[in-house]
């Protein structure tokens, strides 16, 4: 059936190409893509289009609608205009959650970047021994779910039973309040999150490091460049596109962290370490304020979009300057 679609759409589809005008347009164009087929590609993307519409567009649309109502999940949704947003911007616990999430992101993203790059460098180096075993061990945290990762670190840093406090007291120190001190508790979450996301980021860096031409290093070595110089002036610029992806994906991932902190300390002590998704979950599901939670979701979506656009723009400018 796809065959019948081809002649039908043939010449019409050619108008979408970006070729300069004035040049004769052959039926088949170079560079790998085929104009003129409509039904086949449409069928091929159909499943994903339906999925996108059902589980992305639709929730986004009704989410926006409900954010303007006082809907609670049952009965009629009463339209309240921008009330939810006004209330949200005056809500201290929303700001607290937002601020905590930003702190968390500002710690996790750089930490993950540094550790992943370091491990990727060590795993691609000719000077290290035992790389095969090391690689497997680095990868285990990636296999572990955020829930189990939370449990593992909770077990390690339990206040009355954890290995960490046991070691500290055995060395003559006094036990540290890993759970009841909010800031320390967040630091543990940061460590656990970094630990969990290293492997994937490391994989990205390994691929990038392997594609840096060896001749660059050889030329630099002839010029007498030291190791740090070579790293700073050859490696880092060469892997810049990957760095960009790592920071962008890391930021988005950290902003929506939920499962790990839920298992590690439940957003505690109290509600001190409630991150933004926890705040949304609590208002939406535990208190059934769906309208209000949707408004919070929208603010978070806006923030994520701004972050993504700013990073994209920054990346464009840097590439243009090169």
């Amino acid at each position: 059936m796809a065959q019948t679609a081809a002649p039908l759409a043939g010449p019409a589809a050619a108008t979408t190409t970006t070729r300069p005008p004035g040049r004769a347009r052959p039926a088949r164009r170079g560079r790998g893509r085929t104009p003129g087929y409509v039904l086949a590609p449409l069928l091929l993307i159909a499943v994903n289009v339906v999925m996108f519409a059902l589980f992305f567009l639709w929730p986004a649309a009704i989410g926006f609608y409900y954010s303007l109502t006082s809907y609670t999940g049952v009965g009629q949704a009463r339209f309240v205009g921008l009330d939810n947003y006004v209330q949200l911007f005056a809500d201290d616990s929303f700001y607290a959650a937002l601020l905590r999430t930003l702190f968390f992101t500002l710690m996790v993203v750089p930490a993950t970047y540094v550790v992943s790059l370091l491990s990727a460098v060590l795993l691609t180096s000719t000077y290290t021994r035992g790389k095969a075993v090391a690689r497997v061990i680095f990868f285990v945290p990636w296999l572990i779910s955020p829930i189990v990762a939370g449990v593992i670190w909770r077990w390690l840093f339990g206040e009355n039973f954890g290995l960490a406090n046991y070691v500290i007291t055995s060395l003559g120190g006094s036990p540290i309040a890993w759970q009841s001190n909010g800031d320390l508790s967040l630091v543990i979450v940061v460590i656990a999150a970094t630990w969990g996301s290293t492997a994937f980021t490391m994989l990205l860096f390994i691929a990038a490091l392997k594609s840096v031409p060896v001749s660059y290093y050889e030329a630099a070595a002839l010029d007498g460049a030291g190791p740090w110089h070579k790293f700073r002036h050859i490696t880092l610029p060469s892997i810049a596109p990957t760095s960009f992806i790592v920071v962008l994906l890391g930021t988005i991932g950290a902003m929506k962290e939920y499962a790990l902190i839920q298992a590690l300390n439940g957003g505690g002590p109290g509600s001190e370490n409630n991150l933004i998704v926890q705040y949304i979950y609590r208002t939406g599901f535990e208190r059934a304020q769906i309208g209000y939670a949707s408004a919070a979701s929208f603010v978070l979506m806006m923030i994520l979009m701004v972050i993504a656009l700013v990073q994209l723009a920054h990346n464009r400018r840097r590439e243009a300057n090169r």
Binding site: Q3, P35, Y37, P41, T124, P141, I252
Partner: protein, 299 residues
């Protein structure tokens, strides 16, 4: 700390290891090797110890878990926690549910992503470009963020409290689509042309010619997808209500959320939940390590 190793060519250097002039720089080389290797193994210890301690603890009897002095190895190893989790705490059921969800979703994801990735690589039109942007948007603005509306959609579709409600929304993955797009871009068009000349229809070309050659990518995505779904928390959390339908992660988090955490069961259950992925990874390691994710995500 020695950053030196960074700069050297790479593993794939010709055999004989030392690049050139090994003798003259013998001393410096040795120093670098020792330095770099120690840093590497220090990191390995930091990454490995939490898991090792956790797994070893899971074999301790309840009394030994909290009794000082703590010992690294259990003095009387037992699998009581595992047995209790598997039978009394119904983890055999959660395990089955999770396996079902992960396998079905993975099959659907691989086929849907391959088809979409192929369409993006081999056809051109404005709506395909628009579709590509939409797929990227799902990474930038993940659906986890719009929790309550997603819940309402699942409820209105009649998928609430069923495993289908966990499976269906997870089929679309941007990473999968772009992995395949990347791969099919490298497949020469001549292959497609040849199939057309032979009178093969577009769709049968995809299924009979293109899918078979994409096998390595299919395996790579299958492993990733299986891992994502096995460890998924947020969709099952909002979709499932009946404890009989729970997946492993939800069941685990309900133990963690209890007033008094039953550590013995929790440790056993956690190790049960991570074992299949570790085995899968060890078997298919090379597909994970060779995944050209970079290329896919850059697009």
């Amino acid at each position: 700390m020695s950053t030196a190793p960074v700069l050297t060519p790479r593993e794939t250097a010709p055999p004989g290891r030392r690049p050139r002039g090994g003798k003259a720089k013998g001393n410096g080389e040795l120093g670098r090797t020792v330095g770099a290797t120690s840093v590497l193994w220090l990191l390995v210890v930091v990454y490995g110890v939490p898991v090792a301690w956790f797994v070893l603890s899971s074999f301790k009897p309840v009394g030994e878990l909290f009794s000082y002095p703590l010992t690294l190895f259990p003095s009387e190893p037992t699998t009581a926690g595992y047995v209790q989790a598997w039978t009394q705490f119904d983890f055999y059921r959660y395990f089955g549910n999770t396996l079902l969800v992960a396998v079905i979703t993975t099959v659907l994801t691989v086929v849907a992503s391959a088809a979409a990735g192929y369409a993006l690589a081999k056809y051109r039109s404005w709506w395909l470009n628009a579709f590509a942007v939409c797929v990227i948007a799902t990474t930038m603005l993940p659906t986890e963020v719009i929790l309550s509306p997603s819940f309402l959609v699942v409820r209105d579709l009649g998928l609430y409290d069923s495993l289908a409600g966990v499976i269906v929304p997870s089929i679309l993955t941007a990473t999968g689509v772009f992995m395949f797009r990347q791969f099919f871009t490298t497949v020469p068009d001549d292959l497609l042309e040849a199939a057309r000349i032979d009178g093969s229809s577009e769709l049968s070309t995809f299924f009979r010619v293109m899918l078979p050659i994409a096998r390595p990518i299919m395996i790579t995505l299958a492993i990733f997808s299986f891992q994502w779904r096995w460890n998924d928390y947020i969709w099952p959390l909002i979709v499932l209500n009946d404890p009989k339908q729970y997946t492993l992660q939800i069941a685990l988090s309900s133990i963690v959320g209890a007033e008094n955490v039953n550590w013995s069961v929790l440790l056993g259950a956690s190790v049960i939940s991570m074992a299949p992925l570790v085995v899968l990874y060890l078997v298919f390691q090379r597909y994970v390590m060779s995944a050209d994710l970079n290329a896919g995500l850059k697009d």
